[in-house]
């Protein structure tokens, strides 16, 4: 049901609701990366996933990965974006049905009895989250900056060390 031994080594999990204003930042980044894959035939080592929000079963999507990058809108990140390593944490992200990336990593660790893949969080600053609203102008600008960071920084292409990527904003 879940094993994918041939899974690509890097998983990009960009999440949010496409019809909820700046909550669409995650799905919009998904589309940008997907277009890049199709246009340039690049990023063949990257699997792309999207969903409305993180849930417990997403822990099973982390299996057989070397690296995971979560991408989400954030109301608290310094604009235009923040990029941090994420470690498994038994946090209390039980506010509503949505889990934090750290909690998903923790679930992975608990159910598999092994450490999760190295993981990073790209938080793109958003502002408006109304139903039916488009991306705000500021969020759109931040999206582009974050995309350039992923591409120009070769985050998705090159091997890199955890220590090489301190908190960045």
């Amino acid at each position: 049901m879940t094993d994918e031994p041939q899974a690509r080594p890097i998983l990009v999990f960009a999440y949010g609701n496409p019809s909820r204003g700046d909550d669409a930042l995650g799905p919009a980044m998904y589309e940008l990366i997907e277009a890049q894959q199709q246009k340039a035939g690049l990023l063949n080592n990257v699997s792309l996933l999207t969903d409305f929000q993180l849930q417990i079963e997403h822990a099973t999507d982390l299996q057989h990965r070397q690296r995971v990058i979560f991408i989400d809108a954030s109301l608290t990140a310094s604009p235009p974006y923040e990029f941090h390593p994420v470690l498994p944490e038994q946090d209390l992200s039980y506010t509503t049905h949505a889990m934090s990336p750290a909690a998903v990593l923790s679930v992975y660790q608990q159910i598999n009895r092994q450490p999760p893949p190295s993981a990073y969080m790209l938080s793109i600053r958003g502002y408006e989250f109304g139903l039916g609203k488009p991306l705000s102008g500021r969020a759109r600008s931040h999206l582009q900056a974050a995309f350039e960071f992923l591409m120009e920084g070769h985050v998705l292409n090159h091997e890199w060390l955890v220590e090489a990527w301190p908190s960045r904003s």
Binding site: M1, T2, G16, N17, P18, S19, R20, D22, D23, L49, T50, D51, F52, Q53, Q55, I56, E57, A59, T60, D72, A73, S74, L75, T76, A77, E89, Q90, D91, L92, S93, Y94, T95, T96, H97, A98, S100, A102, A103, S106, V107, Q110, I111, S123, G126, F129, G130, L131, G132
Partner: protein
């Protein structure tokens, strides 16, 4: 009765405690409690603090887009909105009878959605309360605590969720934003490979579901009187029912029973729902308060969802769930089971039924047929109703000559339960909080009552940093005495700003 707690006399003289947002509840809701100087509860309300504007979101859209579009209303039950919109658009194109393949593929999708939703709710959101107790340390009272102390149960929850999602993926074509159901049928059948893939694990899924039912029975029996009494209210109950009285969450007529199990109405064609139900409005909440027209707003409110469905149906079509239903009904002693916490028990009986029903469908060759679509004469009005995981869900559309939606009315499951949730928190406030110094475990009891309904108060907006829990304590002059904030990462402390959101 607790309805005197809906509106206090002289609220300006009372202390106010706000629980906002509610934890492990989807959306933006808050509870306000007004207390006098001796901590006696004078008013308790569940508020919905966001105007959702579903209808406006839909108006002006072409009808054929609706099954895909409405999934974005809710990140928790997008498949329910997808399917009910498809049912409504079936009517718009005059497709009164789907092909056997189309109906069974939709049913399979719906069983998958309900299975994964119920698994998430019980194993992730509520088992911490039930396994550890409502006053367990807050840092332990979550899914991680369940995993630590009950690793097999937690893993089963994850795998049940995953299986349900796989059923959705196979039937809808994608994990999210699926397009499987379209006006008049579905756009793909199931391949033999897909069927074999789902068959591989279904016996394990049934076994886990059966174990979950046994677990909830054990939890109930260990503190039977408490579980039967906590947040319990006498209410009418409404659900969909098959023509022969069988449990059916995809299609049927509407049945309502009173607190003693006497029929209020039965096998009502849902196209005439407006003749039987009305939606009331209260000045302090954005969410409407539906009630049964013939009984009026004071006595006509009702409950929907697993508790109503299991109480209302005459039987389940699958053997294990039917036996579980009989065990459940025995505790009611010839009355419907009115315990609010029995929602959890009923939910797991439904989980078991979904697992059994999925297996039955996976051995039905109609799933492989390519006869997937029907058409008829266009109609201006289309109504779809089904039983979503949280209860009865209505979509009503009216379109113009260009096929654009001119009118939309949605009654979502949680709206149906609005008055009942308010009644339950008042019962808890009256019995467990009144006259006591409020503490986090006590306030959690209010949330436990709400969580039993598995409410979906809003839709999939979840951005990081957006969901703290705040508790404000004001004196009788309305001055802020104390304030605590719990951030999304679980850290508890005094908030940096002193903005009063109460």
């Amino acid at each position: 009765m607790t309805d005197q707690l809906e509106t206090a006399q002289h609220p300006e003289r009372l202390q106010r405690v706000v629980i906002e947002p509610l934890t492990r509840v989807e959306g933006h809701g808050k509870v306000t409690l007004l207390l006098d100087d001796d901590n006696h509860i004078k008013q308790a309300r569940l508020h919905i603090v966001e105007f959702r504007g579903f209808e406006k979101f839909i108006q002006g859209r072409p009808y054929w887009e609706l099954p895909v579009l409405v999934q974005r209303l809710c990140g928790i039950c997008p498949v329910s909105h997808h399917l009910v919109a498809a049912k409504a658009t079936d009517m718009l194109i005059g497709a009164t009878q789907l092909t056997p393949a189309a109906e069974k593929i939709r049913r399979l999708m719906h069983f998958g959605q309900t299975l994964q939703s119920h698994a998430l709710h019980f194993f992730h959101l509520c088992s911490p309360d039930l396994l550890f107790g409502f006053d367990d340390a807050v840092r332990h009272r979550n899914i991680v605590g369940v995993i630590e102390d009950h690793p097999e149960i937690a893993k089963q929850g994850v795998m049940l969720r995953k299986y349900g999602q796989e059923v959705i993926r196979v039937t809808a074509g994608k994990r999210v934003h699926g397009t499987g159901a379209i006006p008049g049928g579905v756009n793909k059948s199931i391949s033999t490979d897909e069927r074999e893939y789902l068959r591989k694990d279904i016996d394990q899924v049934i076994a886990w579901s059966q174990a979950a039912v046994e677990l909830i029975k054990r939890i109930f029996s260990e503190q039977f009187d408490y579980h039967m009494a906590f947040a319990t209210i006498d209410s009418n109950m409404m659900s969909m029912i098959r023509a022969d009285g069988a449990f059916d969450i995809y299609h049927g007529g509407l049945r309502a029973k009173d607190p003693n199990g006497q029929t209020i109405f039965d096998h009502v064609d849902y196209n005439s729902y407006e003749q039987y139900l009305l939606e009331g409005v209260k000045s302090w909440s954005y969410m409407k308060f539906p009630f049964i027209r013939s009984l009026g707003s004071e006595n006509g409110w009702y409950r929907v969802g697993p508790l109503a469905r299991v109480n209302n149906c005459d039987f389940f079509t699958t053997p294990l769930a039917e036996q579980a239903r009989k065990d459940f009904m025995d505790v009611g002693q010839d009355r419907p089971v009115q315990s609010t916490l029995a929602y959890h028990w009923a939910r797991l009986i439904e989980l078991l039924h979904c697992a059994e029903a999925i297996k039955d469908l996976l051995f039905d060759d109609d799933l492989l047929s390519d006869d997937l679509l029907v058409k008829g004469d266009m109609q201006a009005r289309g109504i779809g109703v089904l039983e979503a995981p949280r209860g009865t869900l209505f979509h009503h559309y009216e379109i113009n000559e260009d096929g654009l939606v001119e009118k939309a009315n949605l009654i979502v499951s949680t709206t149906n339960n609005n008055q009942a949730m308010n009644e339950s928190i008042r019962q808890v406030a009256n019995h467990y909080l009144d006259g006591k110094q409020l503490t986090e475990p006590l306030l959690n009891q209010v949330e436990v009552a709400i969580r039993a309904y598995d409410p979906c108060l809003s839709c999939a907006t979840h951005a990081l940093g957006k969901m703290p829990l705040e508790v404000n304590l004001l004196n009788s002059e309305g001055e802020l005495l104390d304030r605590l904030q719990k951030r999304a990462d679980g850290a508890v402390g005094i908030p940096a700003d002193r903005e009063n959101r109460g």
